[in-house]
Subunit: 200 residues, 4 copies
């Protein structure tokens, strides 16, 4: 396999990238100046070197400290802990703009199609709770996607949490309902039902 | 203008129908048997004759009684009144399956683009309240679309209701949050914010 | 079944219309003035009365003559005959703007999924040829869709034509190739092959 | 800017990649094993080293010879030369399966929006012709996209070719018409016109 084919097949492993777009990426790099390719090489190389997983929230970030910039930020509210599936969900929560608590990245959701457990970090979450409770934790927000995988994950995590958490700790989940911009007329029955249940 | 063109231009006035599909409708009717066309003619004719607007909820329905089959159904819960924009929203709420209260069709939402008031039936809603309260009404649910028009309508209707309703009457709105099937990662900031606010 | 449901189910038989849009059509007619409904009723009624199928090209049109306005137009070129699947294809050919010959509507294409013959008017086409040849016909253009059904229809019609037509009559088919606006990169292999075969 | 942000912004320069997908690429690489990142780094590095532009057809390929594997393949037909805009168009032509001639990559099309000339390799094409004609070239096929940019490019290239080519050299262009799978009814007027012009 020559270099072009090898790089094409590597790009095909990227999420959401098929053979055509992988080819286009290679053509783009071929037409780019050597300095662009060099920048890319260096950035990928330094991912392994400078980026590490925060031992507290498990998200990836580059930064010198023992924990990531969010976990070590004293202005983040340690009473709230949002458990999310992926790093990208943290970005989504931050775009929401109103959440100022801390996070824990579970590493995915339960896969209903396969029997894989997806290596969720439920144990790490549980192990981290005593220290968090000591630091003032009052509420764990299960912030999983509103789909069957997210729901199954929420059920499993909630059960595990129930076994050990103190009664003073509240476990909540993100609200379901009409998403911004949606019309009643096109909403699915489940969403209508949730919107009614969560009316206020 | 010949018959084909005339019927084509009539179908173009139907919601969501452009010239091509209007032509296809006419071709469909041309290829259909005379009995299909006759059925259509009779059904449209009887719309005017047998369908009437229910004087209580304002939705259109055919049926002999003074009020529609829902309004006259003693098993519907008269403690709850959902105010919706259109007849189609009643259908959506019913698909949800969990609502058993009564309805009032406002007739649309405030149009933010134009200055039209859209002839909303706010006055009829207000006029109907004393009788509804006497019949046990405890909660009015504003069930408008989750968009700026729906929000503006909710604000206006809520204000009008505030002026006259008794303190025992609760005014709620459908919950906002993640709609069923949606992923955090792709949710807009407003929806994330709502989902956090309505967590439970 | 009440009137609203009956009309909704009638509209669901219209091409491309599902239950939701059928409901919207009914709501549209309910909100329309009685005069709009009356216009619709009259237009549908007069379809049966004033529209007839032209005995020469088989398309539907309203008009007093023995044949339709196209077939009786002396300025249309009688040397060319385009055989199309449907009335809508005549409209598409006319939008093209360059064709000034005559038409014959076959009434559909061979269905490859079912075993239905679709009642194609191949026999009527063949029967009409002697008179057309006498009137100067020199070329029959098979103008079917560029899909397997259209191709199968072209093969069958061509075979039937071959059996009887005079050697002076040319049988052609619409050209295949890149459609306007398309890029090579995204074109399917068949289209690329056709575009190469029909290069000039 | 930290490493994650830097790599994200590099991926955003890739064709068709927005901020969200760029983030997803970075997360993918973070979750991947070091060996995957190493493979990517090596493949990108060897692009610059082992891939070169063929001096004859101007496409990028890796391979030891003076010209690329296609140009040096004695089984490719040297009577035919397809002039294409990009390397990806060669891949499309090859998927077509029926072309066995040689190629020349012009490097893009004329940009109608901007005044950029896009550095097309028209001069290189012209310079290569004497040798190609000596080797038996009989036909140059302009294989540009079927859009205004492609058409403008074809006009310009054809003019330049006309000035110098021998009368024995035929200049053709890919055929236009119905693309495979398309229906007459939805075809645009230009395509219908081309399909009629190229009927056969």
């Amino acid at each position: 396999m020559d270099t072009i084919e090898r790089l094409t097949s590597l790009f095909q492993r990227f999420p959401g990238i098929g053979p055509r777009q992988a080819q286009r990426f290679v053509q783009f790099l071929l037409r780019s100046s050597p300095s662009v390719r060099k920048e890319l090489v260096e950035a990928v190389q330094s991912l392994g070197a400078s980026v590490k997983q925060c031992p507290q929230c498990m998200r990836f970030s580059s930064g010198g400290g023992k924990t990531c910039s969010m976990c070590s930020n004293p202005e983040r509210n340690s009473k709230l802990l949002a458990v999310v599936a992926t790093d990208a969900d943290i970005a989504a929560m931050e775009r929401g703009g109103s959440y100022r608590g801390s996070y824990f990245v579970l590493g995915g959701t339960i896969s209903l199609a396969s029997e894989k457990t997806n290596n969720l970090r439920t144990k790490q979450l549980l192990d981290s709770l005593p220290a968090r409770i000591k630091a003032g934790l009052q509420e764990i927000i299960l912030a999983f996607p509103a789909n069957p995988e997210g729901d199954a994950t929420a059920i499993q995590v909630r059960e595990k949490l129930m076994e050990i958490v103190s009664p003073s700790l509240v476990i909540t989940a993100l609200g379901r309902g009409l998403s911004t911009g949606s019309e009643l007329e096109y909403a699915d029955p489940e969403t209508i039902k949730s919107a009614l249940d969560s009316r206020r």
